[in-house]
Amino acid sequence: MEKFKVVHYINQFFGQIGGEEMATHPPEKRSGPVGPGLGLTAQFKGEAEIVATIICGDGYYNENMDSAAAAIVEMVREEQPDVFVAGPAFNAGRYGVACGAICKAVKDALQIPVLTGMYEENPGVDMYGKEIYIVSTRDSAAGMRSALPVIGKLLLKLARGERIGASVEEGYFSQGIRVNFFEEKRGSTRAVEMLVKKLADEPFVTEYPMPSFDRVDPMPAIKDLSTANIAIVTSGGIVPHGNPDRIESSSASKYGEYSIEGVADLVVGEWETAHGGYDPTAANHDADCVVPVDVLRDMEQEGIIGKLNPYFYSTVGNGTAVASSKQFAAEMAQKLIEQNVSAVILTST
C-alpha cells in the first residue's frame, strides 16, 4: 500500500536554524522530515511519511501573514500531500498563531485535512480552534514526547478519512460541535464525582458548557452633540421596498447598507421590514418607528446634532437567540469608522 504523504510546518527554532535572532527567516522547503518530524514519523508506523518540511521564522510569518501564507500554500500544493500538519507550538504565541493560520490557509486552498498542536493558553487556540483540529499539548517542548503520539494518531485517522471521535477522546480542542462517544463510567457516577469535586471547591469540567456572555467596557460619552455624526443601526430588518439584498427573515446571514442621503422620512411603499420575528404591520406602514430618520433629520436641521450619517445599516436579529451577528457587526463597525461616525443609535424590535 502506498504511504500517505504528509507536509510538516515548523518554525526556525524547531527547524534548527536558530532562536529569536533568526525569527525573520523566510519560508523554505526541505525534503523529508526535520526536527520534530523525525519523532512524528515514528508514530506513523510506516503508514505515512513526511515528504517535505516547511520552515519559517515566527516573526516573518506574523509580519507577512498574507504573502507568507500564499508562498507556503504553493510549496504545499507542489507536494500534493494527503495531510498537512504544523507544530506543535506548545505555548509559543507567535508560533501558535502561525501554525493555526497556515493550517486554515492550506485547508481552505487545498481542501485537505490539517492539524496542529498547542497549549490551551496559546492565542492560536482562541483564534483557530473552532476551525481546525488543534491537539492539546503541554506548555513547553518538554511535552513533545506526550504530544506526538496524539498528533500522529489523529493524523492517520484524518488521512484514512475515518470518523473523528469527540474532542476528549482524540485530544483536540472542542470545536463547539457535539460528538457522541462512550465514557468509561456511566453518567450517574460522573455526576456524583463532579458534585464531590464541586463541593470541595476542586476544579471540575462540565460536559456541556453553557453559552457564555461577555461584556465590553462602555465607551466615553460624546462631548459635543452639535458636531457629532450620528449613525443608525437596526436589527429590526428595515430595508428598501422589495428587500434588494434578500436579507433573511430570521437569523440573517448578512446585513444591508442603505443610503438615506436627502431622505427626510421613511415613507410607506419605499421602506419595509424583512424581519420575520414580529408582526410587520406597523413597520411596513411607517419604518420610522424602527429607524427614526424623520426625527433625526429634524434634529440635524435644528442643529441639535451635527449630522445624520448618510448610511444606515440593517439586519435581522432575533430577540433572544444569541446571534451569529458578531461577524457583520465587526464589518459594520469598520465602515462606521471610515465614515467618521461619532456615536451609534442601535434599534431593536
Binding site: 469527540a166 474532542s167 476528549v168 477522546e169 472542542s174 463547539g176 460541535i177 457535539r178 460528538v179 457522541n180 462517544f181 462512550f182 465514557e183 468509561e184 463510567k185 456511566r186 453518567g187 450517574s188 457516577t189 460522573r190 455526576a191 456524583v192 463532579m194 458534585l195 464531590v196 464541586k198 463541593l199 471540575f204 462540565t206 460536559e207 456541556y208 458548557p209 453553557m210 453559552p211 457564555s212 456572555f213
Partner: protein
C-alpha cells in the same frame, strides 16, 4: 428505613409448562401468563416472545421495560397504588431477577417509538439489548380508548413482572445488598463532617403517554415531596411515559435508578446521602414555577450542601431543569445536572432549549439527534412499519431491505438522563 435486595441472576428464559428457576434458566408458562393478562377485558390478544442478547431480533414499538421483583418481607407489595395496595414500601426484603426484563409492546397510538436491537450496530444504544427479554405483545379489544388501552398495557406489564418474580419467593438469593435510609437527625449525627447531598428527580408529567405515577398518583398533581430512595426500589414510581424513547425513564430505570445507586456507593465515604426529592414537569407554566420554588425550599429545609438533578425528556423540561438548578443554586446549594442533548444531526446547534450560567456542572447522556444506519435484523417483534412515524425516525427511514436510518433517539434508553449509560458528548 432499611431495604435488603436479594439477587437472582437470570442467564436465559425458556417457555415450559412447569414454571421454575433452574441453574440460572427461568422457565415460564406462556399460557398461564397470557391468561392472566387477558383477564383484563380491555385486551383482546396477548402473547409472549423471548429475545436474548446477540439474537438477530428487533423489538418495536417498546412501551415499558420492567424488572421482575417480589417483596418477601416488610410492608406492602411491588408497585403500590398501581398493581397492589397503597402500603408504604421500601423496607424489609425484596428479591430481584437480574439480567432480564419484561418488555411491553403494542401500538397505542399510531406513532411511537422505542426500539431495542438484540444484536448488530444498534445494540450499543439501548441498555436493554444486554438483557434476556420476555416480550409481551398485546392488542386492544374493540372500542377501547387509547387512554384505557395505555392503562391496560401498563398494568399487564407490571402484573407479568410480579407473576414471574413469584417463582423465586421461596428460593435463596445468590447475593444480597443493603440500603439504609436514616432520618434527617440520625444521618447528620452519624456523618457530621460529610457534605449533605440529596437527589432531585424530575418526573415527566404531561398527558397521555407522558405520565409518571407515584404510589398510583399522577405526578402532575403532586407538589414536590420527599421520598425514601429505597421506596423507588420497590416500585413506588412507575412509568406511564412512552413518548421520546431515548430519554424517558422506564419502570426498569426507576427500579434501578443509577443516581441513587451511586449516591449510596459514595454515602459515608465522600458525602452523606440525605434523601431524595421528586418533582414534576408540567405543561402549565405556573406549575413549573410553583414546583421549582417548592423543590428549592425543600432542599434548603434539608440543610443541603449539594444536589444532583436528573431530567426526563427535552424541550419544556429544559425550562424546569434550569429553574430547579438556578433556584437551588440561589439557596447556596451546589448542583450537578444530568441531561441529554438535541444538538442537531450535525451537532452544531444549541443543545438545550434553555440555559443559565449557574448550570456550570452538567453531565450529558449524548446528542439524541445523531444519525445511525442499522442493517435489518432477521426477526421483528412488533412491527417495523412504525419506524417511519416514531420520534427520530422519518419518512424513508425504513429501507426496502429492512435497514433503518434514524436518529439514536429511537432507541429505548439511549440518552437516558438518569446517567444510566456511558454515552456522553463533547
Amino acid at each position: 428505613m432499611k431495604l435488603v435486595l436479594g439477587y437472582f441472576s437470570i442467564e436465559d428464559i425458556q417457555f415450559a409448562e412447569e414454571p421454575r428457576l433452574e441453574d440460572g434458566v427461568l422457565f415460564v408458562d406462556e399460557a398461564a401468563l397470557s391468561a392472566e393478562v387477558l383477564a383484563d377485558e380491555r385486551l383482546r390478544a396477548a402473547h409472549f416472545e423471548i429475545a436474548r442478547p446477540g439474537e438477530s431480533v428487533r423489538i418495536i414499538p417498546v412501551k415499558d421495560v420492567i424488572q421482575p421483583r417480589v417483596k418477601v418481607e416488610g410492608g406492602g407489595e411491588m408497585f403500590p397504588g398501581m398493581a397492589s395496595n397503597v402500603d408504604v414500601v421500601g423496607s424489609g426484603t425484596t428479591y430481584v431477577l437480574e439480567g432480564m426484563s419484561v418488555v411491553t409492546v403494542g401500538p397505542i397510538v399510531g406513532f411511537q417509538e422505542g426500539v431495542i436491537d438484540m444484536s448488530g450496530p444498534g445494540e450499543v444504544y439501548s441498555p436493554f439489548s444486554q438483557l434476556n427479554n420476555l416480550v409481551l405483545v398485546v392488542e386492544p379489544a374493540e372500542g377501547v380508548t387509547p387512554q384505557e388501552y395505555e392503562q391496560a398495557v401498563r398494568l399487564a406489564g407490571l402484573k407479568t413482572a410480579m407473576n414471574v418474580a413469584e417463582l423465586v419467593r421461596e428460593l435463596t438469593p445468590e447475593r444480597i445488598e443493603e440500603f439504609e435510609h436514616l432520618n434527617i437527625v440520625e444521618s447528620s449525627r452519624k456523618y457530621p463532617d460529610l457534605p449533605r447531598v440529596a437527589y432531585v428527580q424530575m418526573l415527566q408529567s404531561q398527558g397521555l403517554l407522558h405520565d409518571t405515577y407515584v404510589y398510583g398518583v399522577d405526578a402532575k398533581r403532586i407538589l414536590p415531596t420527599l421520598i425514601s430512595p429505597t421506596e423507588t426500589m420497590d416500585g413506588a414510581i412507575v412509568s406511564g411515559n412512552c413518548v421520546s424513547a431515548c430519554d424517558k425513564n422506564t419502570t426498569y430505570h426507576h427500579l434501578n435508578n443509577p443516581v441513587i445507586a451511586d449516591l449510596y456507593k459514595a454515602h459515608g465515604e465522600t458525602l452523606n446521602f440525605v434523601g431524595m426529592v421528586i418533582t414534576n414537569e408540567n405543561v402549565y407554566l405556573a406549575d413549573k414555577i410553583r414546583s421549582s420554588n417548592h423543590t428549592a425550599e425543600l432542599c434548603s429545609y434539608l440543610g443541603l450542601d449539594g444536589v444532583i438533578i436528573s431530567q426526563e425528556g427535552f424541550g419544556n423540561p429544559d425550562t424546569d431543569l434550569i429553574m430547579n438548578c438556578t433556584k437551588i443554586e440561589d439557596k447556596g446549594i451546589k448542583t450537578v445536572i444530568i441531561t441529554d442533548e438535541y444538538a442537531g444531526r450535525d451537532g452544531k446547534s444549541q443543545s438545550l432549549a434553555d440555559a443559565s450560567p449557574k448550570a456550570n456542572a452538567v453531565v450529558t447522556g449524548g446528542n439524541a439527534n445523531m444519525l445511525v444506519e442499522i442493517p435489518p435484523l432477521d426477526k421483528v417483534i412488533g412491527s417495523s412499519g412504525y419506524i417511519n412515524v416514531i420520534a427520530g425516525g422519518s419518512a424513508g427511514s425504513l429501507k426496502a431491505d429492512g435497514a433503518i436510518e434514524a436518529e439514536i433517539q429511537v432507541y429505548t434508553g439511549a440518552t437516558n438522563e438518569l446517567g444510566f449509560n456511558k454515552m456522553s458528548a463533547r
